[in-house]
Symmetry: D2
Subunit: 359 residues, 4 copies
């Protein structure tokens, strides 16, 4: 990689995930968010005027205006990467157009996740799947996606222990934060003094994407992990941080006692030097009442990787069943941060280094 920061655009910078992208990229050593692209609602307004997050607006970008931009104009202005927080439906054609213009897309949207040439990536878990991008149409830049916010945490937690337990069945019930629905998202009258046991399409995504990420690449295709994943997804009145209650039925009666050590040892990206990679990617809490969204959602070191670690706790092994909780920051690890880390991996693996004309 070069000493210069690559020019990048944030798509959907008026929204909740889009602003987490902006926050993460504002002083990123490799990427320079030169374009904040938004839809009509926020177009023309300054970032500080539409800022939604509790974290402060990045001072250097506070007065930048959000703009509507075409793929062509972004390409013309030298943008190399686009981070996409576009809504489902809108994202698909926009991202395709960018890729055709040679702009690599790192997307939080679901639209392209199931395509054979689009890696669905959690770098610590399935970096090898990046190879799928080679199957993309000639002359286009890659599109690389991060998974659904609840799948990310589950995949991270399962990755190091699946080899030990060979899970047959995984029952997972979620406690998902409000920000998972974006802004304005969940109406306050729908959730105050309430929880809602339904999130559209979420349970299928959680099951299928987790199995996909834990799957194996063979013959240019991903064979999903064979475990039966049974999800029930619930919205709770928490701002940020998805908690998941996990009950695994192992196909082996050994392995349970080693899971904590396996989580602690887990550090597959150790030597790559990715700026946003948390070290360790999984933090194990021993307090009897952890993890909790309020206290653990910002886990992750070094400072740039705040909110990037998954946190596990309350681990109990009753052979052949393992129970635990996992928490991850839905908008960081399970959203903007996931795609930033994907982009860092892509850079580190040289995926973005091919000569322009070859895209």
């Amino acid at each position: 990689m070069t000493g210069e920061r690559r020019r990048c655009a944030v798509l959907g910078a008026g929204g909740y995930i889009g602003q987490h992208f902006v926050r993460l990229l504002a002083d990123h050593p490799w990427f320079d968010p030169v374009e904040l692209v938004s839809g009509e609602r926020t177009e023309g307004r300054r970032l500080e005027e539409v800022w939604l997050l509790a974290e402060p607006v990045p001072p250097a970008l506070a007065r930048v205006r959000l703009r509507g931009r075409t793929a062509a104009s972004l390409a013309a202005s030298g943008v190399e990467l686009a981070f996409s927080a576009l809504p489902a439906g809108v994202a698909g054609p926009r991202e395709t157009a960018l890729a055709r213009r040679g702009i690599a897309v790192f997307s939080n949207a679901a639209d392209h996740r199931r395509e054979p040439s689009v890696p669905l990536l959690v770098p610590e878990v399935n970096a090898a799947h990046l190879a799928l991008a080679a199957r993309r149409p000639r002359g286009t830049a890659p599109i690389i996606t991060n998974p659904n916010c609840s799948a990310t945490g589950l995949a991270l937690a399962l990755a190091p222990i699946a080899p030990l337990l060979r899970p047959k069945t995984i029952a997972v019930s979620t406690y998902q934060a409000l920000s998972g629905a974006g802004y304005p998202g969940v109406a306050s009258l729908a959730i105050t003094d309430n929880v809602v046991p339904y999130i559209p399409r979420e349970e299928d995504k959680l099951a299928q994407e987790t199995a996909h990420i834990l799957g194996t690449l063979a013959g240019g295709r991903v064979r999903p992990h064979p475990a039966r994943i049974l999800a029930q997804c619930v919205r709770v009145g928490v701002r940020e941080g998805h908690l998941e209650s996990v009950t695994v039925e192992a196909s082996r009666r050994s392995g349970g006692p080693e899971v904590t050590a396996a989580w602690r040892r887990f550090d597959p990206l150790g030597d790559l030097g990715l700026p946003t990679a948390p070290r360790p990617p999984i933090e194990v809490r021993t307090g009897e009442d952890r993890p909790q969204p309020l206290h653990d959602r910002w886990a992750g070191a070094p400072a740039r990787a705040r909110g990037m670690a998954a946190v596990v706790g309350r681990v109990r092994w009753d052979p052949p069943f393992l129970r635990f909780f996992v928490l991850s920051h839905n908008a960081v690890r399970g959203g903007a941060g996931g795609s930033v880390l994907n982009a860092e991996l892509a850079v580190a693996k040289g995926l973005l280094d091919r000569p322009r004309g070859d895209r």
Copy 2:
């Protein structure tokens, strides 16, 4: 039963469950709450001054003063039944003293639940367990308990469908309301913008009590249901109403399609005329996002049985797995209302009709 209301006491009337007892008994056709007994914090104060519930204080009792009372003085004043919302630890000896004085105890406390002569009762599920009370010490009145608030809803939901599915494993994750911890209970700073994946001793109670209630009585003992119940219990920022996410692994691949009909058909107390019995005891919601605490916690008809029905929804059968949610009002069905219904059952079964001298 007689035309007169039986004189009863509410123990712990200064607390949250105690006040639900008071609310339910204020105009009860069979029971007359002549004594509101409390601990030091509220002793001597009028009910209206210490009222905690969002529901209005019963007008007829609003100005009654809470009092400290001994078992002897309650017996002397002609109290026949005591409804106990005493805290764990305190409840045990106090309830024993009352029973020795011939006062039948209907308790929400856990202290006596595991004793061989103390029925742990959900009338629609295991009314037959009432027979255990015959094993109590001669000359004492019975002590009858309602289960833990989360066990009640789960047992109700499983009772009609267990014969169809013969569950092998039941994974349950809970979304438990603040009032489950009593008052003052959970600190607002602990739960605002948070959920807490730990409730002391709750998971064991939920598993063991559910298996016990679904168990069979043989030779004067209860043999628990053999299913493996794996619970994870979580506190959420909801005032009232425990939601539970349930994943059942059946030992049969048939049965699943019939569960909804079985729930709808379930009405084992149909002809007993218990005033607080909900008809039906289980309500099935077909809305895609139900049950929800805000909308469904007060389910139960007729009016006196508000909050006494369990509500199930989001039923999905993927053989051999059944997933669903069940909601029940923790402080009513899973607390005060449960014991009121137990007392009604005891009256209807003649358990309280034996001559005084025989107790």
Copy 3:
């Protein structure tokens, strides 16, 4: 009035205030909600499918479908009254069209509130203003409005004491419930762990409408009360019930000690027999920490008038300053219930009894 219930329509029955109208009218002795009219979002759906309130859907109307209806078709189907919960902007022309068709409109919307022939009414305070309706265009039915939800509670609290204090200045700061913004209204991410010191146009409405309601009718016009009303309006994370902190500077140094008695004595509608009128309209709480939304929002007797009383408390007189809090249910007293009471007053005063042709 006749033995038959008058046929009425609820406009905006898919929304939050509209459903409070439906709830209040479902078994109303004078009005029969034969038409539930809604916009596109909910048109064609059954009331139970779109029900938003925590209170249960009225059983008799649960399966009624919401429909789009014109003024002509409502008139043709014999509708005499329309209760309007239409959004601002939409309400104006729709309500005018209904009035032209001879359908009397009782509206929660602000669109017509400032018109000289449209009474802005709180029956206990300014029933005399009903006379303004006589100035409406010949051949039309009257349009009668209830005030802004925060103005209603303030006007009620001030009405009995203004003659005692002759207020010069009234500083009011509000704690307004989420439902004041309708549904979906306030985004959960905007209000969780937050309060928002801004509600568009609310402060002007609160000041101007309160002065208007407390004003005097002379020469066919309302002369506003001369007190300076200084409002600051804040949204808080409460479902229902607007609390207001009021500091009055009196122009007299006597009067303060009598305010509580004046509130208790206040009962101007005493003999009219309006079904939804609370008796008393103002309840005075003496508890040191009252009124509170959770405990006091449903104040009002008899049962039909639940949520219709204003509740005052924490009254302190430091001459010439009076401080107190007032709470009223924004969606009932300050919304649907206000207009239902207005309609009852109109019926009782014979305003709706003129022969059809004369409208």
Copy 4:
């Protein structure tokens, strides 16, 4: 001041404000928190085990054990300063004992605030009041207090504008955060879906302390500011950050248009180099819906002064009335941070430099 950090103790380190002290002092350039002192509930436990804040536990202190310590033992171990977050009632005698041992006390507790030799200090407002400490008993160290959390924000906001407006009357209604009551503090059942218009003794403190801080020192005594301050204090379901709605009646009809400039210009500590002093101490927000606790409570630059600035907004001048909102972080600016800044001021003014024997 010297290059070495002064040894200090935090009293009440197991509580909410105490932990904010620990957080602020962990890497403080002048003070070294060598003793974390706590009561019985947390004595002997590691800081990380009892950590209550959403902000992370300072890594360097995470494994330090809280201890019970006497004034004598603290003095013997070379502690020069004590930061006190002790509860009212407990604080008084403990702090006196420390002062007698020569340990300067910087306290958040109210016990000593009204004593003639104890400065009640907001450094930007009344640094001159520090002189009162000279009146303390010979041979003792000074006790210096920060005001009540709601008085701090109000005093800061009024200080620069009082000379312009010469306020006659100040009506203030508060929106106070949960953490103002410490931990466990407010019960979740008391505040969920609710606000509580009562905080014991708060209104008097807010009025009297604000007048005192804005008062003038003459003849060794403080003459309070003559404005009439009328407070109504309300608890809301926000974690941190007290919002206050302020209506000032000025005695001059000019001055209003200059208040914003006066706030912006205000920087009385400019050249002292206090590490925790915010620059500027008052931030003016122009957004129509600001300040908000969620977005503005951590205002204050540089990084060490996060949460130390007061934020004002929604400024409206209707002569002779000025309305605005002010927000300040109750636990930082109005608590631990206030006393840390007081200690810095005391150091800068040489108050702690007298030879030991002279205390």
